[in-house]
């Protein structure tokens, strides 16, 4: 039945599906994992770095992009679609700043991106954008925000979420380990993001990229060394926890 209703985006199937949008969500699952966490005083974005070919310049393969000084996003899915969406969002951020003399709120730019995506699910001859995005930042009122958009053009606020390959596993990990104590401490929130990624990343710390935004501070990208440090700490903590467990069982 699906084959008759997935040719043109503007066609609903008899049972109400928009198959092209659902297929676009499959394209998102082909991208590597990205995780976002909203702490009390910090927002964290962690991504699984795509392996770069030997002759490829690493700088041009980025999953975390700044949209403005106080907002950044990570995406999963089609690289080219992401580039187009990010460019439009960046232009919108500056246009808003010049027109209204205020930087965009995280919700505003998320709504802009989501509206753009929705337009492409209702246009003839166009396909939806094959990306999901995690948008984080601090508003002027100092409140941290995390939003997620998907190819259908919906957006929701989240405390923590994951997109891309194995997003379900990461989300389940976050559901188990996201507590108010953890996110109150900046360092713990960062560790939670790394631990969530380590559940699904194929070769440990060297394939993880991390970015944080603290209140009234610009975006900070972690260097490979800093990530390695965090990963070592996490592994030490894990070993200690296992030792305690084995002592208890004895």
């Amino acid at each position: 039945m699906a084959s008759r209703y997935d040719r043109a985006i503007t066609v609903f199937s008899p049972d109400g599906h928009l198959f092209q949008v659902e297929y676009a969500q499959e394209a998102v699952k082909k991208g590597s994992t990205a995780v976002g966490i909203r702490g009390t005083n910090i927002v964290v974005l962690g991504v699984e770095k795509k392996s770069v070919a030997k002759l490829q310049d690493e700088r041009t393969v980025r999953k975390i992009c700044a949209l403005d000084d106080h907002v950044c996003m990570a995406f999963a899915g089609l690289t080219a679609d992401a580039r187009v969406v990010i460019n439009r969002a960046r232009v919108e951020c500056q246009s808003h700043k010049l027109t209204v003399e205020d930087p965009v709120t995280v919700e505003y730019i998320t709504r802009f991106i989501a509206t753009l995506k929705q337009k492409y699910t209702q246009s003839n001859g166009r396909r939806p954008f094959g990306i999901s995005a995690l948008i984080v930042g601090f508003d002027d009122d100092g409140i941290p925000r995390l939003y997620q958009t998907d190819p259908s053009g919906t957006y929701h606020a989240w405390k923590a979420n994951a997109i891309g390959r194995s997003a379900k596993t990461v989300r389940e990990f976050l559901e188990k380990n996201y507590t108010e104590d953890v996110i109150a401490n900046d360092n713990e929130a960062i560790k939670l993001a790394i631990r969530a990624l380590l559940e699904v990343v194929q070769s440990g710390g060297k394939n993880i990229e991390l970015a944080i935004i603290r209140r009234n501070q610009p975006l900070k990208m972690f260097s490979a060394k800093e990530i390695e440090l965090q990963v070592t700490e996490i592994e030490k903590e894990k070993e200690e926890a296992e030792r305690k467990k084995s002592k208890k069982s004895m």
């Binding site: 499959e26 082909k30 590597s32 393969v61 999953k63 995406f75 070769s203």
Partner: protein, 288 residues
């Protein structure tokens, strides 16, 4: 027969069948050229089972030549990677032979001179227990070749005192369920077994109306007909290429009776699997 406006006589289609059947037969008789083309095509698509050392064809089927108590068949790249990392590194396996075949899905165009690196189905047996067999099949066996493959491997009258385990994977969009595919915990494992398979299975059984396709279905049907105990473990995944998480989804099978004795070093296996992933990664910039 009917006459058109222009005076030509046109044969009117008739659903009752043709009246002049003899005339039809003459027109459809096979020319020597047709026969030759058909013969060449059959030869091109022949499934050949070759011995390891001599690379000559086996005269009898593989399991008629060698006695077998356990046969584990991996079909598809994820199942093959699972057996390579978890089973094959836990013992000394010796290559017994290979099956070479060509069809439209093959990357090479030369059917006769397939290089040794392209042996698509390789058969091994455990040196310490030569009745345990393993098959790594990473090619697609077309419908017309499946019967030949079965004959060359199992023979026309197989023994019943062996147990077959088949591992394969399929895309989760083929899984028919009333739930939405977004809520499925892919990758996940499903099992299908023959009537004579009495051991417990390591996961839930495949529900209707889902069916199994291609070579795994052919092997399972063959075992059901010949009353051989066989079980198929099918992993539904959303990543069809070689993927660590899909391969690890096969892990519950390690506790089954068939594989329990064969697997020894699991942490080392995970390391080998990771290495296999990195060497096989194809560079693609479409998805980030």
């Amino acid at each position: 027969m009917a006459a058109t406006f222009f005076g030509e006589v046109v044969k009117a289609p008739c659903r009752a069948g043709t009246e002049d059947e003899d005339e039809e037969e003459e027109g459809r008789r096979e020319t020597p050229e047709d026969r030759e083309v058909r013969r060449q095509l059959a030869r091109k698509r022949e499934v050949r089972l070759l011995r390891r050392q001599t690379k000559t064809s086996l005269e009898v089927s593989l399991l008629e030549k060698y006695p077998c108590s356990k046969f584990i068949i991996a079909i598809g790249n994820n199942a093959v990677a699972f057996l390579s990392s978890f089973v094959m590194n836990s013992g000394v396996w010796e290559e017994v032979g290979c099956a070479k075949l060509w069809n439209e899905w093959c990357r090479t165009t030369d059917a006769i001179h397939l290089s040794p690196a392209e042996a698509f189905c390789v058969f091994y047996h455990l040196k310490s227990n030569p009745s345990v067999f393993l098959c790594q099949c990473s090619c697609y066996v077309a419908e017309d070749q499946q019967y030949q493959w079965l004959e060359k491997v199992f023979g026309s009258c197989p023994r019943k005192n062996m147990q077959i385990t088949i591992l394969t994977s399929r895309h989760v969009t083929d899984y028919k369920t009333s739930e939405s595919t977004g809520s499925l915990p892919s990758p996940f494992l499903k099992a299908l077994k023959t009537q004579n398979f009495k051991d417990p299975v390591c996961c839930s059984l495949l529900e209707q109306p889902n069916i199994v396709h291609d070579l795994p279905a052919a092997v399972l049907s063959y075992c059901q007909v010949w009353k051989i105990p066989a079980v198929l473990y099918l992993c539904y995944t959303d990543v069809m290429k070689l993927d660590l998480i899909t391969v690890e989804a096969f892990k519950p099978i390690l506790s089954s009776r068939t594989l329990k004795g064969l697997v020894k070093n699991i942490p080392q296996s995970t390391e080998i699997l990771k290495k296999l992933m990195t060497t096989n990664e194809i560079q693609s910039n479409i998805y980030t």
